[in-house]
Each structure stands twice: as C-alpha cells, then as structure tokens.
Subunit: 231 residues, 2 copies
DNA sequence: ACAAAAATTAACCAAATGGTTGAATTATTT
DNA sequence: AAATAATTCAACCATTTGGTTAATTTTTGT
C-alpha cells in the first residue's frame, strides 16, 4: 500500500519533514528498494534537466523499472519533483545557518564554515544550479519552506560581523556584502563549471583538481579578505 | 518570404553570426516589426523558464501575435531557442576576453573590468543563470561557438597575472583561482538573487539597492584582494 | 498451503504541445 | 488598378507525454 506520500501534506512542518527525509536516508542502504531506486533516478534526472526537461520515462529507465511504478509510489510527476526539490534544498540550505551559528570567534568560524560547506557542496555539486534554476522559475514554490530552513537564522552571524567591523577587525564592508562574497566564492565554481572548463581549457579530471586546490586555498583566503590585517 | 534564417547554418562562423546579430539590434528601433516582437518575447520566456519550460503559446501571447507567426518567422521552437541562446551568450561572454585584453597595467585593468562587466550583467541580469542552466543540460550545444567567443582568449590575462605574481605584486594564488574569484564575486549575486532575497530579507527594491552598493564597492575591493599591498 | 495484500507490468488513454494548412488580408510592384 | 508577394490568422493535425487500468506475479501473514 502506498501511504508514505501523506507526509507531503506537511511540507511546511519542518520537523515532520526532516524526520521523513532521514527515514529516507536510512533506506539508502537497502539498494533493492524500488522506491529508493526511483527517487535516486529522479534526483539525477531532475537535477540535470530541471522539472520540465525531465521525462518520466527517462527516470523509469534509469531506475530500471516500469513507468507505472513511478505513479504507484509517487502519484505524479509534480509530487515526485517536489520531494526531490525539497530534499535538495534541505541538503544545502540549513547547513549554512547551522555552521554560521556555532559559538566561535569570527576568524575561526569563517575558516571552519568555508571548509565544511565546501565539503557539502562537493558532495552535492549539482544541487546549487538545480535549486537556483527552479527557484528562479517559480520563486514562490517552497518559499515558506526556504524561509523556515534559513529565514532570519543568519542574522546573528551578520550581527557578529557588524560587531567585529565596529572594533575595526574586519575589512570595511557591510556585513551583507561580506556574506555574499563568501557564498559567491564557494558556490559559483560549481554552477559555472561548464563555462570555466571551457575558459580554462580543462577536462573533468583537471576541473576536479582545480576544485580540490580551491578547497585547500579558500578557507585561509576568505579569512584574509574579510579580517583586517593588524598592521 | 522567410529568408533570414539561413544565417543559422553559419552558427560556427563568428563573423557572419555577429553581423546578423547586429542587424537584429538595429531592428530593435523598429518597434512594429513582428519578427522583433517575437524575438523579444522569446528571449524573456526562454530566459525565465528555459528551453523545455517555455511554451510557444506563451511566447506568442507575450508578443501579441498568432502562434503560427512563430513558425512563419523561426520555423521551429528549436531554431527560435537557438537564436535566443546564441545572442545571450554573445551578450555576456565575448566582453570578458575583450575587456581583459585591453592594454593596461593589472590594477587599472581589474578596476575597469569589474566596473564595466558589472554594467553589462546589470543590463542582462537573467542571462547568466539561463546560459549556465542550458549549458549544464547540454554542454555540447554551441560549445564550439563558446570556444570561438572566448576559448583561449583569456590566456594573455592569466599570463599577465602570473607575471605580476612573480614580481610579488599580487596575492599568492594561482592566476586561474584569481580569475574564478573575480567572476564569482561579480556574477553569483545575480544568479542567486531569489535565495539572497530570502536570506537577507529584501524586496525587489532592496535587492536592487544592494546590487548598486555592490557595484560601487566591488571594483576597489577586487583590486584589494588581488593586488598585494606594498607594506 | 492458502488467502490476502503488495508489487509489477503491458496496454491504453487523454491532455498538452509543437507544428501545419489554406484561406483571408495587407502591402508591394508594375 | 491589377497582379503578385508577403503577412496574418483560425482551425486542424500528429506526436509526445503524464497518467490510468486491469491483469499478473510476488510477497506476506496465518
């Protein structure tokens, strides 16, 4: 019987939703689970081609099951997409606020944030472009969910920057600009991968190495361009 | 008679293509031109929703013409899309190499590049996400065209950075990382607009102001994080 | 071992969507 | 002004595509 879809009704209730997501993660070990094979295939196809670019048949083929199973487990393309979209957001958005609200002095926090968040994006390199494309098409879809996940949770971090700026410990930029700088430096290379591969004349392996180098460099570099050198 | 589509056959020949594009720009003044009204509508819809997300009917409605006219002037959705995609690339990619190859000392060049390129992106804020999404879906489509437009044209600039780095005038990072840093800081805020609007709790007007502030700040800031302070 | 439930499939269906056609209208040419 | 060419449109068409159904196989519970 198909009954686990009921959870979709509670999209706006973070707690229930996150529980469900973790349940799903657990199932990942069970490779034979048709439901998971479908979800995994859907994730790949949706993230690569977007909602409208994805074909149900392609998802079925990738999952090696009959197309009817998609509807048996997920009812409709819209429902399946919503789950993929939701999980994608959960994987990359809440961690931002979480990492930024650790109780650390600014410099340490920056270094740790950049290092750990790059780890997350490296593990989910297709999510940023996917989420931003879908969010751009329809800014209202899951907007409340987004707000739940991050909303005003970064305000304490911005406040921390402002305080350090007052003390003259940071570069003389508004906290919001600094925040956007940091996110840009981390995420954009994953979004613009095909362009940079062309511009920098790299193959997959070469770009992989480029990203690794970046991961090594960026934590210190971000600190250096945010914190004011004591001179 | 429909004859101007012939140019599409020469996609790989930059010169002919650019000529055609400029011809098109000229027509922009002729507001009554159905062909242009269609193209303008197609540009908006494709850039907002992507190839598969766009509906021919929606383009026709936005252009205030009968759907048949789309095919009369552009033959097919694929052909119309290709033109929009191509022009989008032309508007944001070649300028990079062009601005970076002006004969200027590095510091001046950086300041000028960031200022002028931000102007371009501000005038075409939807293009980066659109192009990157389409390029991600199908990295081979117009790949040769891309290579023509920028290809190895940024190598001289990378070389310039390397030379200045040797002389100890820049921060101690590989030239490629510096280049990616600069592009990230400029472009990402346009791509991630819906997320940043949520995170920073801004409305359209507020985000516009944020971008303006950024435009004012960034040229100097980029210089400051690339060039080594003489201390 | 049997019955009930769950999972799976092939064949089909209906709506959406890109595309075509032929007639009607407007503009151009001579 | 007549004839020719270009433009526009309403009605249609064909394919793609998301979705359904009914029958079959597999699993589970007793």
């Amino acid at each position: 019987m198909v009954n686990f879809c009921a959870g979709l009704l509670y999209v706006w209730s973070s707690e229930i939703e996150i529980l469900e997501v973790e349940l799903m993660e657990d199932k990942t070990t069970d490779q034979s689970s048709t439901e998971l094979k479908i979800f995994e295939a859907a994730r790949e196809v949706f993230q690569a081609k977007g909602l409208e670019g994805a074909r149900m048949q392609e998802i079925a083929d990738k999952a090696e099951i009959n197309k009817s199973m998609l509807h048996y487990y997920y009812r409709s393309k819209a429902k399946l997409f919503e789950k993929v979209y939701q999980l994608s957001i959960i994987k990359v958005i809440p961690k931002i606020a979480e990492l930024l609200n650790e109780n650390l002095p600014l410099e340490q926090k920056l270094r740790s944030f950049v290092d750990k968040y790059l780890e997350i994006v490296k593990a989910n390199p297709d999510i940023p472009l996917f989420v931003l494309h879908e969010m751009n098409k329809d800014p209202n879809r899951l907007r409340n969910f987004m707000i739940d996940q991050i909303g005003k949770k970064v305000q304490p971090f911005l406040q921390q920057i402002r305080e350090e700026r007052e003390k003259g410990n940071t570069v003389d930029l508004p906290a919001e600009q600094i925040m956007v700088n940091i996110m840009s430096l981390m995420i954009f290379p994953f979004i613009a991968r095909p362009v940079f591969k062309t511009i920098l004349d790299k193959d997959d392996e070469g770009y992989e190495a480029f990203i690794e180098e970046r991961h090594r460099i960026l934590p210190d570099y971000v600190v250096s361009i945010v914190m004011k050198k004591s001179s």
